[in-house]
Symmetry: C2
Subunit: 383 residues, 2 copies
């Protein structure tokens, strides 16, 4: 029906079959046993299992069992995730960050947050280092607004922290041939030398904290599934240079407003209207959802009341599965929309209200973040 | 007669035809006009034209005319050379450094001296970053012992100065494809990602001083001819990122003790006996020259007296062309050896005396260097 899906760190398109991706990428599905182990730890902190786990939004992993085994033995892992600063933050970027914040709360662990400005500069022809610098700052505000603990959260920016990262990246890079990178990332001979090297920089935060303090803590990487090729390669290399294979936990993509069929992943490069930015005001959000959110409803109100809508392809409903924490509420939306009781316009209004209420708080925290940004940036110790 | 010569930044072997290299590499021969322009500046400082220029040891260049034009207009260039720290310093390494010191004296200019520890780590399988760290220190002592002005000389070590270099290397790397690197360096798909990226790091010191102080000074790179492929590539790129093409001036290789035919370039990896290290004591030097320096003499003293020796293939004589500054003295050695008046053993004694006298002073300065090393290492300004 639709063309073959593409999922690489730099391109996601087509109708993604996540079960197929699990096989292709070689990740494991998160099973009930793992879920109840995580739930047990959440309960200790008075928290429910995160709705993104309950609903399979975070659906796959690598070595999560090892990470939990170590944790239960008293060897706390650290978290590593990141954001390549090529534009403003949109709702899709927030998905893994919100979940990562929950992991930080439940397990009381450090987070190392990478801003690979080098990556975006190298892979986007028109992007300058001035652009990436600007977006690094803007994106940092959003990360802080998510609510990470400043005492346990460390930002590293590849170009700014190269003094501690480059040396470690060399150790990784020495173990990866161009052949391997070619097959993992689909590079051609026309790829530039920096882009070819870059994956080594993305591997570094998975063991850097251990380099810096001489400890031997495992690393858990929450990330969207498209980044898996990087970690697939680096997981083979990291043990060779003396550190544990990092574990990882993968999420699906928040669909673009245009719908899940045309857009695998919401991307700011598909145009401003395919996405809701964290800096959009309430009026803009309302307009975007009303105008661009693909609807699973019928052509006329009469037909909709009679046949009902299809929540499985309705973008507004899909977005609610990411942002509405209450299962009962969500269940009701599903049945009301399917039965035709809830109209597409009404469903959109519910999403608009949800997003704008969230963004009001987010934007307030984002504004306050400007004053505390220095607390988050990892300070390199003088030699 | 002999096999095809190979000259790449990582391998030099065979009997090198320098005139052919000029054509192959696309460098220009240093002509009399350039020589007299340089001589004019030397005279102003009360110095003769350097014997390595008089004898064509420094024999080729790129854009030297532009460098002198700028200098004469009052826009002083800076010098850039380096040493990849994979072992102890030998006499061959000193050749471009001694000449560079003379250039610093004549033109009163800054020198940026790079220690690309990343390169050696990446290209030598068995070498660790601990090894390169050790040799960086040892090699620095030798560079200081050559006599560079500490006020005008800045050491940069790729892994230690990555905080200021990596960002600049990215700009270079973005402009070079794997295809280009493949044809310039002969890479295969089995090359590691760090080695592929490395040439971008070697390009950086050619414009870094301008990045650091916002000036627009040209760069002159004295180096052995095998490094030319790096600069051939980076000269195409550097103007694209807003700086002048660096000029360069190339020297021949000091032949290995085994002779110019078997060894293109003296290499410490060809075994300790192919080379004289700066830390060798007088007895070791004597033994090495007597035992291993390839002789151009005849089989017996009688035959030698009768037919004379061949200084053109005699390693001891060849070494004297690098280290004996006095032209008259050298001329006499040539004719006495050719006529049979000077025996091979006597010629060796002259070289041994020359080297040991030089090394006595060098080793004393090298010892003193330990106390002033910090004055030479470029200190990164805190942001």
């Amino acid at each position: 029906m639709t063309g073959k899906a593409t999922v690489t760190p730099w391109e996601v398109k087509g109708n993604i079959d996540y079960d197929k991706l699990i096989k292709e990428f070689g990740v494991s599905k998160i099973d009930d046993e793992l879920l109840s182990r995580i739930e047990k730890h959440a309960k200790k902190k008075g928290l429910e299992l995160h709705h993104m786990l309950r609903r399979g939004i975070f659906f796959a992993h690598r070595d999560l069992k090892f990470i939990l085994d170590e944790y239960e033995k008293g060897n706390k892992f650290f978290l590593y995730t990141g954001r390549a600063p090529s534009g403003h933050t949109h709702m899709g970027h927030l998905v893994p960050w919100m979940f990562t914040k929950w992991l930080q709360d439940v397990f009381d662990v450090e987070l190392w947050f990478q801003f690979p400005d080098d990556e975006k500069f190298l892979f986007k022809k028109e992007l300058s280092l001035d652009d990436t610098k600007k977006f690094t700052y803007e994106n940092m505000l959003d990360v802080i607004a998510v609510g990470f603990d400043p005492k346990k959260t460390h930002f590293i920016v590849d170009t700014e922290h190269a003094g501690i990262m480059y040396k470690e990246a060399l150790k990784v890079a020495k173990c990866i041939t161009f052949s391997t990178a070619k097959s993992a990332f689909g590079f051609t001979n026309e790829q530039n030398l920096g882009a070819i090297f870059y994956t080594a920089m993305q591997a570094v935060p998975a063991f850097l904290p251990n380099v810096l303090d001489g400890s031997r803590r495992p690393c858990l990487i929450p990330h969207a599934i498209d980044q898996d090729p990087h970690f697939r390669v680096s997981r083979d290399v990291i043990p060779k240079i003396g550190y544990d294979k990092p574990g990882s936990i993968q999420c699906r993509f928040l669909p673009g407003l245009g719908g899940m069929i045309s857009d695998g992943k919401m991307s700011s490069s598909s145009g401003d209207n395919a996405t809701v930015f964290t800096i959009d005001d309430a009026k803009t959000v309302k307009k975007k959802i009303n105008k661009y959110a693909f609807s699973g409803g019928q052509a006329t109100i009469e037909e909709h009341r009679e046949k009902g809508g299809n929540p499985d392809i309705d973008v507004s409903y899909q977005w609610m599965t990411f942002f509405e924490e209450d299962d009962e509420q969500l269940k009701k939306l599903y049945s009301d929309y399917s039965s035709g009781k809830l109209l597409s316009g009404e469903l959109k209004s519910i999403l608009i209200e949800k997003l704008n209420s969230f963004l009001a708080g987010h934007q307030e925290r984002r504004e306050k973040a400007k004053k505390v940004i220095d607390k988050y940036i990892y300070r390199i110790k003088s030699p």
